[in-house]
């Protein structure tokens, strides 16, 4: 079930370039990916993947054809499905032995860590937003393309602060990730001076005995004098959040995992050449480009930029270029990996799925060095303790 795709053929001859160097990319994906079941992708919940991670990568590699040919570099992509963390570790080791320049993962956090611990190569996390991969469980050569949960909540909190919608009712779901994500949301709410009016757990249920947890009107009703400006919903699953907009007790907007959502990308984004990127993606894959697709496309962009920079290698120079270069991801500003946790700093888009409502960092939020670093963990927090190259 291994697929080898030769992306760019040796074409140095056309431009008289020197002998081409080959950069091997190994992408590890879950053997059985519940996120990509048709019943889920059809619902197209905001912030959920819309298809395989290889799609975005292939689009990026294909569009770098001219640069790669001129530089005399060849990239190959090998996609390996893995069933668990041990298999991810084995596959990463095998890739390293086979001369891979980089390992990419679209895996659960623990599987990505198993792969990262097994090799000395750069490992690019495409699809997992967990903060722990950027904080206590960070790794020296692990890079992250998808914005972290905290970047998402910071972007949303900035947007609410700019709008002066400061009174927040927070609803948190029962999924394993929801408690942690809710804590992250609360940290952002605090940091941007918003006020947490109340926080309530919710549950999908039709059982009348659980109506306090499941009834939308009861959940969003005002007890005593507590009113709110927005309902912030934390729902990793997505089904509950989708039912919430327009069904709240008070006529208030929903934000978080439904309503207004902070994402890395939207297919409706109109600026900075974004429509061309989305269009190329849809032409190649037949589906709209999601935030996850942007993350894998961006990984491809970063890899091709690094390969063009040091077309003859060696691997060390390639890894260095990957860590130090600035990349263009059609979001209007150069982006690079943060040295302190390997996260790609990037603007975020606030979208309701119909259009892009706002961008973050919002105007007026400033940072001593780079405004993009107002989103997510900043260097002085020192939450990633490992030494990074």
């Amino acid at each position: 079930m291994r697929r080898l795709i030769l992306v760019a053929l040796l074409a140095g001859a056309a431009f008289g370039a020197a002998q081409a160097a080959t950069f091997k990319l190994t992408l590890l994906v879950p053997a059985d990916d519940a996120r990509l079941e048709r019943s889920r992708t059809e619902r197209a919940y905001l912030g959920h993947p819309g298809g395989p991670a290889a799609d975005g990568l292939l689009v990026a590699l294909k569009e770098a054809k001219f640069e790669l040919e001129a530089a005399g570099a060849v990239l190959t992509l090998d996609t390996v499905p893995v069933a668990n963390a041990a298999a991810a570790k084995d596959a990463a080791q095998k890739a390293e032995k086979g001369g891979a320049a980089v390992v990419l993962t679209d895996l659960p956090a623990d599987w990505t860590l198993a792969a990262a611990d097994a090799v000395k190569l750069p490992v690019m996390n495409l699809g997992d937003a967990s903060d722990r991969l950027r904080e206590q469980d960070c790794r020296p050569r692990l890079l992250h393309l998808l914005p972290s949960e905290r970047m998402r909540t910071d972007a949303l909190a900035q947007t609410l602060a700019a709008a002066r919608w400061s009174q927040v009712l927070l609803l948190t779901g029962p999924a394993p990730a929801d408690a942690q994500r809710s804590a992250t949301a609360q940290a952002s709410i605090k940091r941007y001076g918003l006020k947490l009016v109340a926080t309530k757990p919710f549950k999908l249920s039709a059982d009348p005995r659980e109506r306090d947890l499941a009834n939308l009107k009861l959940l969003t009703g005002t007890t005593g004098n507590a009113t709110y400006d927005v309902v912030w919903v934390v729902d990793s699953d997505g089904e509950f959040a989708r039912t919430l907009p327009y069904r709240t007790s008070l006529p208030r907007p929903v934000v978080g995992d439904a309503g207004l959502t902070a994402l890395a990308w939207s297919a409706q984004f109109e600026r900075f050449g974004a429509p061309q990127v989305s269009r190329r993606f849809t032409k190649a894959t037949g589906r709209p480009m999601t935030a996850h697709d942007w993350a894998s496309w961006m990984a491809g962009k970063a890899i091709t930029s690094a390969a063009t920079e040091v077309p003859k290698g060696p691997a060390v120079a390639f890894a260095k270029a990957l860590n130090e270069l600035e990349f263009d991801g059609s979001k209007g500003t150069p982006m690079s990996f943060r040295p302190w946790d390997g996260q790609l700093r990037q603007p975020m888009l606030l979208t309701d799925g119909q259009g892009v409502v706002a961008m973050a960092p919002v105007e007026g939020v400033l940072h001593p060095k780079n405004n993009l670093d107002t989103l997510g963990v900043d260097a002085p927090e020192k939450l990633c303790k490992v030494a990074r190259p």
Binding site: E63, E67, A70, R279, N370, N371
Partner: protein, 327 residues
């Protein structure tokens, strides 16, 4: 004379054509394309006032005068066409099917061929205006943008925003002669009047790359700085030069300034504060005024070239893109 223009707009009609020609012989008129209004805004530069609008095809972007000076060609992204606007009547007199989502183009010096960057197909199209057909399509890097034909008609230059290159293309054979790596997201091109240097704006590198047309090497890179702005907010796009080749003007995008650059020394001599996201720049014939199109504040700023001082900002249509001055 201004009364004449005013009278014409009131009365309109064919009877006024002769009068308007007379008016235009002395007038100094700017036409500014507006992507979201599907119009050209007409500005009388003598009075510094907006005098009207000309409807175009949908989402007009690059505007250019035909070599005979009688018509405007306007590339329209949503119409997949260029509108041909007759300047005497200020009406569309034809459409050229120049391909999907057109943005930037240039004309061959003889006015017969239109070179159009085809963003979605990653190609440069050679469009024969007389027959209305493409005669050639040259594959280039993704998201081709700025296009320029050399004055001798032998070469065409096109930038690729994704490949970060300028492609040098032989106009006769359609072969890519050279791929020159420049800064990130190269946008627009200007040739020094002596033909020795090609200047390329790099939107994501806050710079201009200077290419030698002799051997296509990058001889220098001009890095822009604006006090109070970070380099990531300096996003150069539009560029133009004086006829004597002494001064260049570079719109610095989100930095909301235009840089005045001394061509010989590559030094920035002045910065003029304009509107939001300064996008394209156009000089009048006497090179006394520079018209700057501000993409995000829906206006244009007129800048005095001698003093580098902004004279006046005029509201135009929504999302203005480019401008042509007709004198």
């Amino acid at each position: 004379m201004n009364k004449l223009v005013f009278a014409r707009s009131l009365l309109g009609g064919a009877a006024m054509v002769a009068m308007s020609l007379l008016a235009q012989a002395q007038a100094q008129t700017a036409y500014v394309s507006s992507e979201k209004d599907h119009t050209l805004t007409v500005i009388d530069l003598k009075t510094q006032a907006v005098t009207g609008t000309v409807p175009t095809c949908r989402r007009p972007r690059h505007v250019q005068l035909t070599p005979d000076g009688k018509k405007l060609l306007v590339a329209c992204a949503e119409s997949n066409a260029a509108d041909v606007i007759d300047l005497a009547t200020r009406k569309s007199v034809g459409r050229l099917a120049i391909g999907e989502d057109p943005e930037a183009f240039d004309l061959s010096p003889d006015g017969k061929t239109l070179y159009i960057s085809q963003e979605d197909d990653a190609a440069l199209g050679f469009f024969d205006i007389a027959s209305g057909k493409f005669t050639r399509t040259v594959e280039v890097g993704k998201e081709p943008e700025g296009v320029k034909a050399s004055p001798d008609g032998k070469l065409v230059w096109v930038t690729s925003e994704v490949a970060n290159m300028v492609h040098v293309i032989d106009a006769a054979t359609g072969k890519v002669v050279k791929n020159v790596k420049v800064g990130k997201r190269p946008r627009r091109l200007a040739l020094t009047p002596d033909g020795s240097q090609l200047w390329v704006t790099n939107e994501m590198s806050a710079s201009v790359s200077i290419l030698s047309t002799k051997d296509w090497t990058v001889t220098d890179t001009i890095q822009f700085e604006v006090k109070g702005a970070r380099s990531t907010d300096i996003t150069p796009v539009g560029i133009t030069m004086t006829k004597d080749g002494k001064q260049a003007f570079v719109a610095l995008g989100r930095a909301n300034h235009v840089a005045f650059v001394d061509v010989a020394s590559h030094k920035t001599t002045a910065l003029a504060l304009v509107g939001k996201r300064a996008w394209n720049v156009t000089l009048d014939k006497s090179e006394k005024q520079l018209l700057v199109v501000n993409g995000l504040s829906d206006d244009v700023t007129l800048v005095d070239v001698a003093t580098a001082k902004p004279l006046k900002s005029l509201p135009v249509g929504r999302v203005p893109y480019g401008a042509v001055i007709v004198e």
